[in-house]
């Protein structure tokens, strides 16, 4: 591989017409540079959007009640109803495909007057009554303490898990919130855990203002009877969440005398569907990026091939001399292909390095500016993609050199020698 004469010849060929070499190299450079920038930006966008999902299980569905729109079993339309604790047992009993079932009920909060007080401080926060399973479906980042557990539910303990923004509002910087008491809508709760959201941007801010208390405690303390606000459900692995969604809704409609054809009476949101759509979108973006990127790259490589053809023509006589002196066709072919590979790889490597460098710079600026950008997080490309791109480059370089190299040896040595 390291053959000084070879490199001397490569250097001679490439430095003979520096501007031409530069312009040719630029074509390849630009191709790979664009590919890196576009892939990196696409990844940044994708990371930004998928982070909005947090670590939420994507095979989950949410079901809540709405007003009926069809009269059924003697009930008129426009009826409001509530899910209840018996539904929980019924669902667990008759939908075995469910992995986690987390009923929830919410006690006021958003857009209300101050509902949480500690000493002289107070604020408006969302109060959620939850089961331990909720943390499995939409996990939180625990800074300190823990989430609600089964004993909390069973004993209807007055304990609360609070978000980081709640801590900021109710506690001084040097205070330790754990085991302290806060007053939620007139009742004292002990703080047992502090969390931060796994999402970004405004969504994270929202979640960090949540307070979670045991589901059973909330029902009893604030007189919700046995009402359930909504269900969060995940399906078992390998079972599509839509199966669970359909079965559960059918069951709930039957239990609450809702017409089976009443689409509007049960509200539901299938995260999987949403997630798949998003994935499809990003797949489309990535496909487009690869098509455009490799197209640009291909144009650069064709440029290299063209220039190599010109170089070979210019050097016809030189190659003729070498062949007269005993250079075998393979020697000539490998020399020309190597020139082409060196040019492409060198230019491509620069494109890669500068592209990644630019992405890192953007990343650095985004992070140091401190702006919480929701839609664009950590742009960059995977190492494996970079290696793939370089491999493609070497391959393309060889391919670009192939045609000129074959042209060079297809001329008879005597014709090559006579060429002026």
């Amino acid at each position: 591989m390291f053959d000084l004469d070879r490199w001397q010849e490569i250097y001679h060929v490439l430095s003979k017409n520096k501007l031409r070499t530069f312009l040719t190299a630029f074509g390849v450079f630009w191709g790979i540079f664009m590919l890196v920038i576009m892939l990196g930006s696409g990844n940044g966008l994708e990371r930004g959007v998928t982070q909005n999902f947090g670590d939420m299980a994507t095979n989950s569905v949410f079901i809540w009640t709405q007003q009926t729109t069809i009269p059924y079993k003697g009930f008129s339309r426009g009826r409001s109803y509530n899910f209840d604790n018996e539904d929980v047992i019924a669902i667990q009993h008759s939908v075995p495909e469910i992995k986690y079932l987390a009923p929830r009920i919410q006690a006021g909060g958003f857009m209300q007057t101050n509902n949480v007080i500690r000493g002289l401080k107070s604020g408006v926060f969302n109060i959620m009554g939850d089961y331990p399973a909720f943390n499995k479906i939409d996990p939180l980042n625990f800074v300190q303490g823990r989430f609600i557990n089964d004993l909390d539910i069973k004993d209807k303990r007055k304990v609360a898990v609070i978000g980081s923004r709640v801590v900021d509002f109710l506690f001084k910087k040097d205070e330790k919130p754990i085991n302290q008491y806060i007053q939620i809508q007139g009742v004292y709760f002990q703080v047992i855990g502090i969390f931060t959201s796994k999402r970004t941007g405004e969504q994270a801010n929202q979640e960090n203002q949540n307070i979670y208390i045991p589901f059973t405690t909330l029902q009893q303390t604030y007189n919700y009877g046995n009402a359930v606000g909504f269900f969060s459900i995940t399906s078992k692995d390998n079972i599509p969440v839509s199966v669970v969604e359909e079965k559960t809704i059918r069951l709930l409609k039957k239990r609450h005398s809702v017409a089976p054809s009443d689409e509007a009476a049960v509200g539901h949101f299938n995260l999987k569907k949403e997630y798949d759509q998003m994935k499809g979108l990003f797949f489309g973006i990535q496909l487009l990026v690869w098509i455009v990127g490799t197209g640009t790259l291909l144009a650069g490589v064709i440029g290299v091939s063209n220039i190599m053809l010109v170089v070979v023509r210019e050097r016809t006589k030189e190659i003729g001399i070498q062949r007269a002196l005993g250079a075998t066709p393979w020697k000539v072919i490998s020399q020309i292909m190597m020139e082409s590979v060196v040019l492409t790889t060198f230019a491509g490597y620069f494109g890669l390095v500068i592209g990644v460098g630019l992405l890192e710079l953007i990343n650095f600026l985004l992070e140091s500016s401190g702006s919480n950008t929701e839609m664009f997080v950590h742009p960059g490309i995977d190492f494996s993609v970079a290696v793939t791109a370089l491999t493609i480059l070497v391959f393309c370089g060889a391919l670009a050199g192939m045609i000129p190299a074959r042209r060079a040896v297809s001329v008879k040595p005597i014709d090559a020698l006579r060429y002026e």
Binding site: Q8, E9, E318, I321, L325, G326, A327, K412, P413, L417
Partner: protein, 234 residues
């Protein structure tokens, strides 16, 4: 001492060689059945008007071109429609070339140019450069070893080319108008060198159109219209 009882070994033998060039509809019959035998260690010259076919003959002898029919034996090896790879190897091992226009590789210095045939034999760089220096010294060009061809005079270039032709220890050296681009004094010098080369036992075939050059070879072969018309012993 040369043993006169031994039959001189035949280095080059061609029998009824024909060669035509086809350009479009026209076919140009350049060699019309050439018979020639050159013994090992002989020094012969080929003369003829331009277009007579002398260069074509030299190219066929040099395995740079194919012939249409007939037979060519080089040191007993049948040369006929060889693969380019085989032809390149044979050129490298058996033949040395000296051209009118020197044909040195412009980006290699004198030493590297001389070493080139050894490069194609995959001789390590250090070793081949050392050998090249020896040959340059023989040509009296040791001080010019690191000069590029465009820094050398015509005579010097041709001497570098001769050194390059010699370094592969060829059996035959083919020289196509070796003095064509040189003035008369330099021409004489180059011919001296070529004669000296011949005296080491290497077969030499020179194509020329100058009589005094031809006179310095042992045999002159005259080609007219694709046929050998005359063989003169000088």
């Amino acid at each position: 001492m040369v043993n006169f009882d031994l039959k001189i070994q035949v280095m080059i033998k061609i029998k009824q060689v024909h060669k035509s060039y086809i350009t479009g509809q026209n076919s140009l019959h350049v060699l019309k059945g050439i018979d020639l035998e050159v013994g090992a260690g002989e020094m012969i010259s080929i003369m003829g008007a331009s277009g007579s076919g002398k260069s074509t003959l030299l190219n066929i002898l040099g395995i740079l071109d194919n012939y249409d029919s007939g037979e060519y034996l080089l040191d007993g090896i049948k040369i006929n429609r060889l693969s380019e790879r085989k032809a390149a190897q044979l050129r490298n091992k058996m033949l040395g070339f000296v051209f009118q226009s020197f044909n040195l590789v412009s980006f290699k210095n004198a030493m590297e140019n001389v070493a080139l045939p050894l490069y194609y034999q995959n001789v390590p760089r250090k070793k081949r450069n050392l050998i090249a220096m020896e040959y340059l010294e023989r040509m009296g060009l040791k001080d010019w070893a690191h000069h590029l061809p465009n820094e050398l005079s015509g005579g010097q270039k041709q001497r570098v080319a001769i050194a390059r032709a010699l370094i592969g220890k060829p059996k035959v050296i083919l020289a196509d108008e070796p003095t064509g681009a040189l003035d008369s004094t330099t021409s004489l010098e180059v011919m001296d060198i070529l004669q000296e080369v011949n005296s080491t036992g290497i077969t030499l075939i020179i194509v020329t159109h100058e009589h005094d050059i031809a006179l310095r070879t042992q045999k002159t072969i005259r080609i007219t219209d694709g046929n050998i018309t005359e063989i003169i012993k000088n």
